[in-house]
Subunit: 122 residues, 2 copies
Amino acid sequence: MLSVDVKPIGVIRNRGDGIAMLSVFAAYRQGLEGLEVGARVQVLYWMHELTHGDRRSLRVHPGGDPDREMKGVFSLRSCVRPNPIGVTQGQVVMVNDDGLSVSGLDAKDGSPLIDIKASCSE
Amino acid sequence: MLSVDVKPIGVIRNRGDGIAMLSVFAAYRQGLEGLEVGARVQVLYWMHELTHGDRRSLRVHPGGDPDREMKGVFSLRSCVRPNPIGVTQGQVVMVNDDGLSVSGLDAKDGSPLIDIKASCSE
């Protein structure tokens, strides 16, 4: 089966204060041109804390609550899934020399950054 | 630099009639449990027609229009980008033995399917 080759373009720094720093590797920074404060962005990242076991689980208890009936992972937004790519949305609050500061992102500190796109709604 | 290992879970069949068929490989079908007609889903796929050259371009003319000033790919939704993962949204119109039929998806026929998630808005 084909495997696709995804290379991180940076790393997400998230101290939990509501603002995440998207630190973009130098080789990719030209791609940030045109991003301004206020822009809404969709951010893709690798949920790096998942284990190989998590990638093999296809059914989970929603919200991790054992009292709730198990459901298929494709019917949920659980981080447990075969390809643990997170998709989250936020708003640019600062453009820095090496990346962006973005509010509202739901990504853990240290997550490898995979992509930044203009938000669908724009 | 770390490279992450993404394995397609199926393939998208899109004849351009507004309904795409997400054909999920047998090994992953248990993950569909709980998906019902009417559910809104976010679909990740590999933009397989992109060339290695497209993956190296970090600035493009928006909409492919040479009269518009070039911008960085992370400020756009162009398919040209280092990691050509498409993110699109749709609504389940049929649950089949081997996958789902979904309306409203913006993905080309033959695209490798990477993930299906409940839509953010739910």
